[in-house]
């Protein structure tokens, strides 16, 4: 295996605080040399002039639909989408068919991921058996099999006592509980955010308070039990404010948001485009701006995509009948570049924290690290690349994104995992 020489890129690592134009030499699975102008023969050269080279991204929230819905996505197609989006590690949610609540499914996922041999795939186990919210799963067995967190994502654990026990039990293993913080009853089967837009469009709305109420409850339980709690897809201003306050009090809580919550507001729903139909819903401009502030001040730890593939036939229905979700692995970087970097003037260092070291800490996995001897899990981004998102460019099996046909700025052009090139953009 020839060494890889990445020349002339802007190398940024939020862990070592490196931000410099340097060359990187990768030998076997490590970064063996960091220097200006490395000369070495018999290498694979990557010209990274004008590009950003950084540790590979980690996505805490992906739906691979495998086992169960190969028409929507498989571990193989999902992995291809992940590397095309710059993700070297992804965590897959357990709401598969059957549910990932036993080691058989966990083993299946690892086996498929090994066969596909692209990104690292870390299963998340269900908190309760069959995600029914009643009995907790065998955390110990699942962790031995390799799960990195527990979640009933798609649903909150509605019974507060079951959640209490799950949090307490998780302390045995120091493993986080990922909560989907939406109160099903308050959400009223709402299809979009409840507010002026839902009033004008006649939609049953899902109010932000449905998120706030569960966040409030879960924070109190996290404080009471001392366990590690992580909130999925935070979308609203008030829920975020509660989390910020809880962190100041020293409660062991982290949270993520998704690009669609900082990129869109609920006015987009006027189009009735089912690709904007997500759960929790895209909320008001006020919430969108609060999410951006949360990313800025650190109240929000991670950016996760909640990649939710659905096939065309399912989304090509009247709004009320279409399933919730949009794909996100390959759209994350353009949305980050266009909104956070360009409009909101975030630094790359700050953005990369949310995509690398922060998620890594939550699941206690390693990131790529740009120092001599560091693991060579790297992503190469062209932050200025203009491209039109067409179906043929999407690696995911499903194409349900509202950005289809849009002109985007920013694209991942290369991914190296464990020292091997796993993705290289062919124009």
């Amino acid at each position: 295996m020839k060494p890889i020489l990445i020349k002339g890129g802007r190398v940024i690592d939020p862990q070592t605080k490196l931000d410099a134009e340097v060359d990187l030499l990768i030998t076997k699975n490590e970064i063996s040399q960091i220097d200006k102008n490395i000369r070495k023969k018999d290498v694979v050269r990557i010209d990274a002039k004008g590009l950003i080279v950084c540790p590979g991204f980690i996505d805490l929230h992906v739906h691979l639909r495998d086992p169960g819905r190969p028409d929507e996505e498989t571990i193989e197609t999902g992995s291809k989408a992940a590397v095309a989006g710059g993700f070297t590690s992804i965590c897959c949610m357990p709401n598969t068919e059957p549910v990932t609540d036993n080691e058989g499914i966990v083993n299946y996922i690892y086996k498929q991921a090994a066969r596909v041999n692209l990104c690292r795939v870390f299963p998340i186990g269900a908190i309760t058996k069959n995600r029914e919210g009643k009995e907790i799963t065998e955390f110990g067995e699942l962790i031995t099999a390799g799960v990195k967190a527990f979640s009933d994502d798609g649903d909150t654990v509605a019974n507060s006592n079951v959640l209490r026990h799950a949090l307490e039990y998780s302390k045995t293993f120091d493993i986080p509980i990922f909560e989907h913080p939406i109160d099903k009853d308050l959400a009223q089967d709402g299809l979009i955010n409840e507010g002026l837009i839902s009033t004008r469009l006649g939609f049953n709305g899902s109010p932000a308070i449905a998120e706030e109420v569960i966040v409030a409850r879960d924070l109190l339980l996290a404080k009471f039990t001392g366990a590690r709690l992580h909130f999925c897809h935070i979308s609203s201003k008030n829920a975020l404010a509660l989390i910020r306050k809880a962190k100041k009090e020293g409660i062991n809580v982290t949270c993520e948001t998704c690009p669609h919550y900082f990129f869109f507001n609920d006015e987009t729903l006027e189009s009735f485009d089912t690709n904007y139909k997500v759960n929790p819903p895209i909320r008001s401009e006020k919430d969108r701006l609060a999410i951006i502030e949360g990313l800025r001040d650190g109240a929000i730890d991670c950016i996760a995509t909640d990649h939710a593939p659905h096939c065309q036939a399912e989304k090509e229905l009247e709004f009320a009948s279409a399933p919730f979700g949009m794909i996100g692995l390959e759209m994350a970087i353009p949305m980050v570049v266009m909104e956070l970097i360009r409009k909101q003037k975030f630094s790359w260092m700050k953005v990369l924290q949310k995509l690398t070291i922060n998620p890594a800490k939550i699941i206690k996995e390693k990131t790529g690290i740009i120092k001599e001897g560091g693991l060579a899990d790297l992503t190469i981004i062209d932050p200025k690349k203009k491209w039109k998102l067409t179906e043929s460019k999407i690696q995911s099996k499903s194409k349900n994104t509202p950005l289809l046909g849009a002109e985007l700025t920013g694209r991942v052009v290369g991914v190296i995992i464990n020292g091997k090139i796993k993705y290289s953009l062919k124009d």
Binding site: T199, G202, F203, G205, P207, F272, E316, E318, A320
Partner: protein, 307 residues
């Protein structure tokens, strides 16, 4: 001419657009009074009424309106269609289009269903009610009826009583009335009033008795009895006590005011039978105007020629 191919809602229509429909409808009122109330304007055109939800007034009046214009009419009923076999809205529409229909009048329980079809089909689409979103042809016939009694919308005080949250009739009327410059208020328990509706320029009241004498037009909406089960209001009895248009309340209305209702009415709940049948009530005029307004709508969107 109204520039758009479809009539999907009244929210985006201008004052001028609305007047175009109303003025033409006045002409068709005259046609409807003739011994043979038929004109050849849309001869050769095929109109489909595509109703996925039950309808008496709307479906029949569109059917009659189309026939009065000499168009060919085909009526679809969900219960006897392949939708019962699981066929999607999209497939139903594409199949119908293959049979070369000129216009589709669609009612569906999903918000945005008419918009969805308009994106997929060449035929012109008239929204006959999409979920709780809009029912533009109802609002237009309501506006026509109000105009016949009051002539000017500016300074007109209109009150809508009922389940505003779930009413496409309320939404369309609010949009149309605000565009024409009328004052609009709603009266209902807070559970039935959608969030931030005041941002549309609508005044909110919870107590009907305090305001019953302040309005030129009072429109009662049908209360859906199923809503009781979702704790939006405790009982039909309490609803009628607080919000029913009773004889006693009707007697305290302004002298020249009118009572409207889109139908069907729950007699004895949101409106008492003798109030519905009183001379303050213009409910049957609304239905009569419905045919004329729908003739105007079909004429404009099917590209009819005046002879």
């Amino acid at each position: 001419m109204v520039p758009k191919k479809d009539l999907l809602g009244i929210e985006k229509l201008t004052s001028k657009d609305i007047s175009q429909y109303l003025d033409l409808a006045d002409e068709f009122v005259k046609v409807l009074e003739r011994p043979i109330p038929i004109v050849p304007a849309l001869r050769g055109k095929t109109i489909l009424t595509l109703f996925f939800e039950p309808s008496t007034r709307t479906q029949i009046s569109f059917s009659i309106a189309a026939k009065r214009l000499s168009a060919d009419v085909v009526n679809f009923s969900r219960a006897t269609s392949s939708v019962t076999k699981g066929e999607t809205l999209l497939d139903t529409a594409l199949n119908i289009e293959a049979m070369k229909v000129d216009g589709v009048i669609v009612r569906h329980s999903a918000c945005g269903a008419a918009t969805f079809l308009a994106q997929q089909l060449e035929a012109f689409i008239i929204n006959a009610g999409d979920g709780c979103h809009e029912h533009p042809t109802q609002a237009l016939l309501d506006l026509m009826t109000m105009k016949q009694h009051f002539n000017d919308f500016k300074n007109l005080k209109v009150l809508i009583i009922g389940d505003i949250s779930h009413s496409r009739v309320a939404r369309s009327n609010i949009f149309g009335l605000k565009t024409l410059g009328a004052e609009v208020a709603v009266c209902a328990p807070p559970t039935l009033i959608p969030l931030e509706i005041e941002k549309l320029g609508v005044t909110i009241f919870y107590n009907l008795d305090e305001i019953i004498g302040d309005f030129d037009v009072i429109m009662a909406l049908r209360i859906q009895l199923e809503r009781q089960k979702t704790s939006l209001f405790p009982s039909v009895r309490e609803y009628r006590t607080l919000y029913g248009l009773t004889k006693e309340r009707a007697a305290r209305m302004k002298p020249k005011s009118i009572i409207m209702h889109p139908g069907p009415t729950n007699r004895g709940i949101e409106i008492d039978p003798d109030v519905a049948d009183s001379n303050k009530s213009v409910i049957l005029e609304q239905v009569k105007n419905g045919v004329a307004i729908r003739m105007a709508i079909l004429f404009i969107h099917a590209g009819g020629k005046i002879e």
